[in-house]
Symmetry: C2
Subunit: 423 residues, 2 copies
């Protein structure tokens, strides 16, 4: 008998009908002879509504209390789901993150899982129950306070439980049919990927693909837990993410896995930096001290006549104001002429392990963009990814051109189920 962990996002359990539909799917997995552990997010917009309420009583909600507030959402959905399953004649028990043994550090609102001790889950399974676990939440090791795992936290809960319980697979149910070669809202001919490696999925997630978050894939890779991303609506086979394809998992696209894009970043250019050792370090130490994560970095060739150079980097738009402030405060120490801020940029990335041994990929990528009349502002490459920054206005055209150029377009205009994604 296999052990399966299933995770359902907020859009899959948005109302009573959704909960009953999901309950049927869970019972089917149980009837197929599996032990079933289910991780569930808060219903639909519950979390946003709670965040809104918090904003009404306090402009800067405190971390500990904010986590206590938000975790109410999963308590509601998991209890209702357990009831719906019992109503179908099967035994189910719901568990908070704390009851499920999800132990985290004490960083409220974005805690990291440091251990999973699923003793109560194991007991519930051994007694023939389906175990329903609140996603997105845990309990801090030192203070025993309720914590939340931040965006995409329920996926991480599911993978972490799958690892701790040595599950055969972690099924991530969402409102799309799987991982696509590009965002199907942008590229109508995007193809669903049948199988993708952890490495390629990590690069896609880092490049703007929203279906799985980076942290969740990283966790799955570390513990070698196959992930199956699929739709809770269609019931079709989705995308398998694992080390190696298994059985009849098709590997059609040996060279390129997909095209990702990201319009959530901004670009800061530090103009007129003295071209001497230690300058770049001073800039990025300043940014790091402000706890801002940066993405791409490019230093222009120095103009010999002035001895000055420009350094550009990209970062989340939400961090833009903080970064500019930090740099201005340290202007004297760093030494630069001016700062330029640009939030009208897009990043387009081509991802695929095959490009390591295919030298023509980079050239083909740039040619496709050039043919589409898209200007490139920054370039960054890894062994299995090429990313460029373009004007935000060019993003749709750029993604479509690259998708077609690398033969990723589907033959048919197949219907694609797509909405937002749960957390």
């Amino acid at each position: 008998m296999g052990l399966v962990v299933q995770k359902y996002g907020g859009s899959s359990v948005a109302d009573a009908e959704g909960i009953k539909r999901v309950a049927k799917r869970i019972v089917d997995a149980k009837k197929n002879g599996n032990q079933v552990v289910v991780v569930v997010s808060a219903m639909g917009d519950t979390t946003d509504e709670l965040i809104d309420l918090a904003g009404q009583v306090s402009p800067i909600p405190a971390g500990r209390e904010f986590d206590m507030l938000l975790t109410a959402g999963e308590r509601i959905s998991m209890a209702l789901l357990a009831m719906a399953i019992k109503n179908l004649g099967h035994e189910a028990q719901s568990f908070t993150g704390s009851q499920a043994g999800v132990i985290t550090d004490s960083v409220h609102n974005k805690a990291r899982i440091i251990d999973v001790t699923p003793g109560r889950i194991r007991t519930a399974l051994d007694e023939g129950n389906i175990a329903i676990v609140a996603g997105f939440q845990g309990v801090s090791q030192d203070k025993k306070d309720i914590t939340t795992l931040g965006r995409g936290g329920s996926d991480t809960t599911a993978v972490a439980l799958a690892a701790a319980l040595d599950a055969e697979v972690c099924e991530i149910y969402t409102d799309v049919d799987g991982v696509f070669t590009a965002d199907p809202r942008v590229v109508k001919k995007a193809r669903k990927i049948d199988w993708i490696s952890f490495e390629d999925m990590l690069e896609l997630a880092a490049s703007g693909s929203k279906v799985l978050l980076h942290r969740c894939v990283e966790y799955a890779r570390r513990y070698n837990i196959p992930i199956h991303v699929r739709s809770s609506f269609s019931g079709l086979r989705g995308t398998w993410v694992s080390n190696e394809p298994q059985g009849d998992q098709k590997v059609e696209h040996a060279i390129i896995s997909g095209v990702a894009h990201d319009v959530s970043e901004a670009k800061i250019t530090v103009v007129g930096v003295p071209d001497k050792p230690g300058e770049a370090a001073a800039i990025f130490r300043t940014i790091a001290n402000a706890e801002i994560n940066i993405d791409m970095v490019v230093q222009n060739v120095s103009a010999a006549s002035t001895g000055l150079t420009d350094i550009s980097f990209t970062l989340p738009k939400a961090e833009g104001r903080k970064a500019i402030d930090a740099l201005e405060r340290n202007r004297g120490t760093i030494g630069f002429e001016s700062l330029r801020y640009d939030d009208q940029i897009a990043k387009i990335s081509l991802v695929g392990a095959g490009m390591k041994t295919n030298p023509g990929v980079t050239a083909g990528f740039f040619e496709a963009l050039s043919d589409a009349g898209v200007n490139i502002e920054l370039i960054s490459t890894s062994e299995i990814r090429i990313s460029v920054v373009t004007r935000a206005d060019d993003v749709i055209e750029a993604v479509r051109a690259v998708h077609t150029a690398f033969g990723l377009d589907s033959d048919s205009d197949e219907a694609v189920v797509y909405g937002g994604t749960g957390r």
Copy 2:
């Protein structure tokens, strides 16, 4: 420095404005030099909405999961309240029932508190925090499952914490100004009671007064915790409930505390019961086995010619169907001719320790009803209470007549704040 436990019902924290208003009141108590523990109910209609959701996914929600669901409501209100207090510049920490050490038995949906171990609350107070505790919930001693305390459970949480922390007073904030000599919606001239004994309050609660529930008063009496029932809107002094009046607590109504009425009961008459030993026992054993609590019981004088008698009793309307079914199933064993069910009755009760030594009270009560043209169907008395059952249609006239006859009417038509009550 004194320790005060305050409890706020759902109507007091129905929205963000309510939460901010309550936060100010709590901070005022802290500024007055008290250590403050606050017990809070779920916001407004949250609990009813959750119950409705449960009904949509399952016709018979399971106890354990139902409790998990309902307790989400208090997590939301307590976290928001803690945030609102912090926003006023004071330290606050919220605690679930489990974190607050509210240990219960395992009877889901109506658990009883068996111990309170408020170690974390004590620590929070010693560190200068205001402690916010989720009302209505606890954790079961044996299984460590989340439990709820049933209707009025938040009041019981507050009194139990006050006892465990040896508080000076347990303040129950609600949307009325205190306990009145009669329901102010029925009797416009009802007077707010300044002080009332535990015993009289217990009788009023048992007779239909909704301001404080019987279980909460019983707990307070056992541990001798004074209760102060007051409005979270007006801030006026309310009603003190305690063993003895203290300081300037006025004791105006030495004989009679008030008139209560209750239209939530029904009457069952078992017709044609053989008048021999063991018959009544057989009837009430049947009812007890069905876990139904009954209230008043009356056996008519046997008609000598037939050797048969009738036995009538009252019980909550909600239990009527179950009681009839249980009696019908045991008809052969018990032996009776027929059953009569009547849910158009009202119970009117006069409560006051003074009546023990005032023999005229009973007569005065019946005269007042008679003068108002109200017919009496059943009578039941204790040392400090007389109750009668009348037609439901007569209840308003009966309550007003008795209130006036015993001199309880207020001199002025004072404005009275009244709405529903939280749980």
